[in-house]
C-alpha cells in the first residue's frame, strides 16, 4: 500500500521538476545564446504552447474538438491593433479583446453543444470561415484584406521592443498564465466536472453537474486566454490580416500541438509545442529551399505517423515509462458490514416524494401509463417488473432525464416546501441521486476522482471532496482501489462505484437501478445490509431490482410495473402472492411449478 502510493508520488515530483527545468530553459536558452533568431523560435514556442494550452481546456478537458480556435486568437489580435491605432495600450486592449472573445465564444458555442465529435469540429470550421469572410468584408473596421499595422511605438507600454528579451518575457509570462489556469482548472472542481461531462454526460448530469454551464465556462476561459495571446502576437508581428489571423491551418496547428503532446493533459500542449516548433523551423530551413512542397509533404507524413503510432501523444509515452507497474484489480473486497439493523420498528416518516399520473409515449408506444405513488422518509420502495416494462423510463422521469408527457413529480425540499424539479440538475440539488442500470463510470478518471465528482455536490473544495470521497469509498469497499482507473474494475466493482458516486452526493432520496445485478450472493447480502444502514440514516430509497431475494428482504413496500402500468403495490410478501404479478412477471406456468 505504501509502495503503491509512493511510486506515483516520486514520479509526480520528478515530473514537476522536469517541467520546471523545461520552463526555465525556455527563457534561459535564448538568453544564453543571445541570438535574435533563437529568441524568435522561443517566443514562437511560448505563443504556440500558450494557445495550445488554452485550446486544450476546450478540446482536451471538455472533449470538444474545436478547429476554429483562431477565431478567438484573431479577435484578440484585431482588438489589440485597432485599439493601439486609437492610442490605447495593448495591455488594456488585450482585456478588451478577451471580453469580445468571450462573447463570441458563447455565441459560437451555445448552439453547438448538441453537436459532438466531427460535427462540432465542422461547425467551428464554418464559424471560422464566416469570421474570416466578414473580416475581409468590413474594411472600415478591419482594413479588409490589406490588413492593419501598428505604429512602431517602442516600449513596454506598446509591447514593441528593439531588444528581444522583453518580448520573450511577455510571451513566457502568457504561457505561465495559460499553464496556471489550465492546471488550476484541472485540479479543481471545474476540471473534474469537465472531464466527467466529456466521459459520460448523463452521469455527470445525475451528479448535479451543470454540463452546459461548465462547458461554457471552459470555452469562455479558453477564448479569453487565446485572445490575450492573440493581442500579444499581433504586437509582435506588428501587422495582421484576415488570412493569417482567421486561418484554418493555424487552428489545426494549435490543436495538433496538443494532440501530439497529449490531449487533455496539463503539460501535453507545452511538450508538443516545445518539440514541434523547433523541428518545424529547422525542417523548413533544411527542406523548404530544396524543393517546393517537400517540407509540407514531410510534415503531412509525420503527422500521420504520429497519429498512428503515438495516439496518446508524448504524455502517453511519458506515462508508459513512469507509471507504477499496472495493478490488476482482481476480486474486490466486499463492502464493510454495516451496523446491525436497529431492532426498533421504525415509524413511517413523512412523505418526501409524490409521483402523480405519469404518462410517457415514445412514438406510438405507450411506455408509461398513469404511474403514481408516494415515497416516505426513510423508506425503501422496491420496484419490480419484467424487462422492458418501463421501470427505467419511470426512473428517468423521477430524475429529470425525461420529461413526462403528463403528470408531475414533486419533491419535498430540505426546507419543507414541495417543489417540482425539472432538469437533472434540479433533481440533484434538491437531493435526489440516481444510479444507472448500465454503469456509467468516468473511464478516464480514477475511482477516487469518480466519487469526487459526486462529492463536489456538497463539498466545493477539492480537499473536502477528496476526504468525503475516500470515506465513501471505504464504506463501499472500494478503499483499496482509490487510485485505480475506473475502467479496470470488474462489473461488481463498477456497480459499487456507481452507488458510491451517488452516495457521495449525500442525497436524501436515492434511486438505485439494478445495483445488485451481477454481484455474487455474499455480496448481495452485504449490499442489502449496506442499503438498510443508509436507509436508517433517514435516506429514502427507490430500488429497481431483479434479484428477488434482495427485493424481499430489503423493501418496506414493493411496486410492480408491467407494460408501463402499476399492477400491484404493497407489502412484498403480499405482492409476490398476487395472481396478476405471478402471471405477468414470473409467467403463468410458474404457479404449476
Amino acid at each position: 500500500m505504501t509502495r503503491a502510493s509512493d511510486t506515483p508520488m516520486t514520479a509526480h515530483r520528478l515530473g514537476l521538476i522536469a517541467v520546471a527545468v523545461l520552463l526555465a530553459g525556455l527563457v534561459a536558452v535564448p538568453v544564453a545564446v543571445g541570438d535574435q533568431f533563437v529568441y524568435h523560435i522561443f517566443i514562437t514556442i511560448c505563443i504556440f504552447a500558450a494557445l495550445s494550452t488554452a485550446w486544450n481546456i476546450v478540446g482536451g478537458y471538455a472533449g470538444q474538438l474545436s478547429l476554429g480556435h483562431a477565431i478567438f486568437y484573431g479577435i484578440g489580435g484585431y482588438a489589440g491593433v485597432i485599439l493601439v491605432n486609437l492610442g490605447i495600450s495593448p495591455w488594456i486592449g488585450m482585456f478588451a479583446g478577451a471580453a469580445v472573445a468571450v462573447v463570441a465564444a458563447i455565441v459560437v458555442s451555445w448552439p453547438c453543444f448538441r453537436l459532438h465529435g466531427p460535427f462540432f469540429a465542422l461547425a467551428t470550421i464554418a464559424f471560422l470561415e464566416v469570421f474570416r469572410v466578414l473580416a475581409l468584408h468590413f474594411r472600415e473596421l478591419t482594413g479588409g484584406a490589406t490588413g492593419l499595422m501598428i505604429p512602431l511605438k517602442i516600449g513596454w507600454e506598446w509591447m514593441v521592443f528593439r531588444e528581444r528579451l522583453p518580448a520573450l518575457l511577455i510571451a513566457f509570462g502568457m504561457l505561465l498564465v495559460c499553464l496556471a489556469v489550465a492546471w488550476a482548472i484541472r485540479s479543481h472542481r471545474l476540471g473534474f466536472y469537465l472531464v466527467a461531462t466529456r466521459e459520460r454526460e448523463s452521469a455527470a448530469k445525475a451528479a448535479g453537474v451543470g454540463t452546459v454551464k461548465v462547458r461554457l465556462m471552459a470555452v469562455a476561459v479558453s477564448a479569453a486566454l487565446s485572445a490575450m495571446v492573440g493581442t500579444f502576437h499581433a504586437m509582435y508581428l506588428t501587422f495582421i490580416e484576415p488570412e493569417s489571423m482567421f486561418s484554418l491551418q493555424f487552428s489545426i496547428q494549435i490543436a495538433m500541438f496538443a494532440l501530439i503532446g497529449g490531449i487533455g493533459t496539463v503539460w501535453g500542449p507545452l511538450l508538443g509545442a516545445m518539440l514541434l516548433v523547433p523541428i518545424t523551423e529547422f525542417a523548413r530551413g533544411a527542406l523548404g529551399s530544396e524543393a517546393i512542397g517537400l517540407h509540407g509533404f514531410v510534415y503531412g507524413v509525420v503527422l500521420m505517423l504520429v497519429v498512428l503510432f503515438l495516439p496518446n501523444g508524448i504524455m502517453g509515452l511519458v506515462h508508459r515509462f513512469t507509471a507504477a507497474p499496472g495493478k490488476t484489480v482482481g476480486e474486490q473486497a466486499a463492502p464493510v458490514a454495516a451496523a446491525p439493523r436497529s431492532a426498533e420498528p421504525r415509524e413511517a416518516g413523512r412523505e418526501v416524494m409524490r409521483v402523480e399520473g405519469l404518462q410517457k409515449h415514445f412514438g406510438g408506444l405507450h411506455v408509461t401509463n398513469d404511474v403514481g405513488f408516494t415515497l416516505r422518509e426513510g423508506e425503501i420502495l422496491g420496484v419490480i417488473g419484467p424487462n422492458g416494462a418501463g421501470k427505467t423510463t419511470v426512473f428517468n422521469m423521477l430524475s429529470g432525464f425525461l420529461k413526462p408527457d403528463e403528470g408531475k413529480v414533486s419533491v419535498l425540499s430540505p426546507s419543507g416546501e414541495w417543489q417540482q424539479p425539472v432538469t437533472p440538475g434540479d433533481f440533484a440539488s434538491i437531493g435526489v441521486g440516481r444510479t444507472f442500470q448500465i454503469v456509467q463510470p468516468f473511464a478516464a478518471m480514477t475511482v477516487e476522482e469518480n466519487i469526487m465528482v459526486g462529492a463536489f455536490h456538497r463539498h466545493p473544495h477539492v480537499g473536502d471532496a477528496r476526504e468525503a470521497a475516500r470515506e465513501t469509498a471505504h464504506r463501499m469497499g472500494l478503499g483499496p482501489y482509490l487510485n485505480a482507473e475506473a475502467s479496470s474494475l470488474t462489473i461488481g466493482g463498477l456497480k459499487r462505484l456507481e452507488v458510491a458516486r451517488v452516495m457521495a452526493m449525500e442525497p436524501r432520496i436515492l434511486l438505485l437501478d439494478e445495483v445488485m445485478a451481477g454481484i455474487n450472493q455474499t455480496d448481495v447480502r452485504r449490499a442489502v445490509d449496506l442499503m438498510l444502514s443508509i436507509r436508517d440514516t433517514g435516506v429514502s430509497i427507490i430500488a429497481i431490482e431483479h434479484v428477488m431475494q434482495a427485493v424481499m428482504s430489503l423493501s418496506d413496500r414493493v411496486i410492480v410495473i408491467n407494460s408501463g402500468q402499476i399492477i400491484a403495490q404493497g407489502d412484498p410478501h403480499d405482492v409476490v402472492r398476487d395472481a396478476h404479478v405471478i402471471e405477468a412477471y414470473l409467467g403463468k406456468d410458474f404457479t404449476h411449478a
Binding site: 460535427f119 469540429a121 468584408h137 494532440l259 490531449i263 517546393i292 512542397g293 509540407g296 509533404f297 503531412g300
Partner: protein, 295 residues
C-alpha cells in the same frame, strides 16, 4: 427574368459539380463515420491523373475515368486500411480527423512537389461548347457532370438496395455488431466503402478536369462545400447529398448575384450552421447514422 433563369441554371450546374464530389463523401462520412478531410485532395489527385492520361495518351478526358476511378478506389481503400482502420479502436475519435488532415497536407504538397504551383490544363475536347435552352446557356461539360451525378446517385442507390454487397454496407452502417453476426466482414466493408467513395470522386475528377484548371490547392475549396452538402442532405444519404448539393449550388449562385460575390461563402456557411444547429439530421435526413448527435 432571363438573368434569373440563367442564374438558376448556373446554380444547378454548380450543384451538379458539388454533387459529384459530395456523393463519395457522404458514403465515407455516413458509413465509415470518418470525416475525410483529404477528400478534396482525392479530387485533386484524380484531376491530375486525368490530366496526365488525357494529354499523355491524347484521349478524351472522360475516357480516363476508366483508369482514374479504379486508381482512386485503390487510394481510398489503402487510406482506410492503413490509416483509418488502425485508429478505429482509438479512444479518441479526434485522432482520425488529424490523420486525414495529415493525408490532405501530404497529398497537396506532393502535388506541389511534382507539378509545381502552376495550373495544369486538361484539354477541353469540346466540353466547353454550349447548349441553348431558350435564352439560357449551359455548357455541355456541365450538363455531362450533372447527368453523371444523377446516374451515379441512381446507380449507387440501386447498388445499395439491390445487391448483396450494397445491403451489407447498409447493414454495417445501421448496426455494426449485428452485421458482424450475419457473417459480414465489417473491416472489409469499410475498406470497400472508402474505396467506392474515393472512386466516385475519381469519376467526378475526370469530368471536372476539362472544365477547371487543375492546381494542387483545387481540392480545398471543394471539400468544405462538399461537407456542407453532405450535412444538408442528411449524413449518409446519397440522394440527400445530391439534393443538398443542388441547394447549395443555387444558394451560391443566387447569393453571388444578389448579395455579392465576396459574401457568398459566408451565406453558404451560415446556412450550414443553421442546419447543423436546428436540424442536424439534414433537410432530407433519414433517421440513420446520427450517433454523433446527442438528443
Amino acid at each position: 427574368m432571363d438573368t434569373f433563369l440563367q442564374i438558376v441554371a448556373n446554380g444547378l450546374m454548380l450543384g451538379g459539380l458539388f454533387a459529384i464530389v459530395a456523393v463519395g463523401l457522404t458514403l465515407i462520412f455516413g458509413i465509415v463515420k470518418v470525416i475525410n478531410f483529404a477528400h478534396g485532395e482525392f479530387l485533386m489527385v484524380g484531376m491530375y491523373l486525368s490530366f496526365l492520361l488525357s494529354t499523355g495518351l491524347d484521349v478524351h478526358p472522360y475516357l480516363t475515368a476508366a483508369a482514374v476511378a479504379p486508381a482512386l478506389f485503390v487510394l481510398g481503400a489503402l487510406t482506410q486500411r492503413l490509416l483509418i482502420q488502425p485508429l478505429m479502436s482509438a479512444r479518441d475519435e479526434h485522432v482520425q480527423i488529424f490523420a486525414t488532415v495529415g493525408l490532405s497536407t501530404a497529398l497537396m504538397n506532393l502535388a506541389l512537389l511534382i507539378f509545381g504551383a502552376d495550373i495544369a490544363n486538361t484539354p477541353a475536347h469540346g466540353v466547353r461548347s454550349q447548349v441553348m435552352l431558350g435564352e439560357v446557356r449551359i455548357l455541355t461539360g456541365q450538363l455531362w457532370v450533372l447527368a453523371a451525378a444523377v446516374a451515379l446517385v441512381i446507380g449507387l442507390q440501386l447498388f445499395m438496395k439491390k445487391t448483396r454487397t450494397g445491403r451489407a454496407i447498409r447493414a454495417t452502417a445501421q448496426n455494426r455488431a449485428a452485421a458482424r453476426l450475419m457473417g459480414i466482414n465489417d473491416k472489409f466493408i469499410y475498406i470497400l466503402t472508402f474505396g467506392i467513395g474515393a472512386a466516385c470522386v475519381g469519376l467526378g475528377s475526370s469530368l471536372i478536369a476539362p472544365l477547371y484548371p487543375t492546381s494542387p490547392t483545387i481540392g480545398t475549396y471543394f471539400v468544405l462545400i462538399a461537407f456542407v452538402c453532405v450535412v444538408l442532405g442528411g449524413l449518409g444519404s446519397i440522394p440527400g447529398a445530391f439534393f443538398g448539393a443542388l441547394v447549395i449550388g443555387l444558394v451560391d449562385a443566387l447569393s453571388g448575384f444578389y448579395i455579392g460575390s465576396d459574401l457568398r461563402e459566408a451565406v453558404v456557411f451560415t446556412i450550414f450552421l443553421l442546419i447543423l444547429i436546428l436540424k442536424p439530421s439534414g433537410l432530407f435526413g433519414t433517421r440513420m447514422n446520427l450517433s454523433h448527435v446527442s438528443p
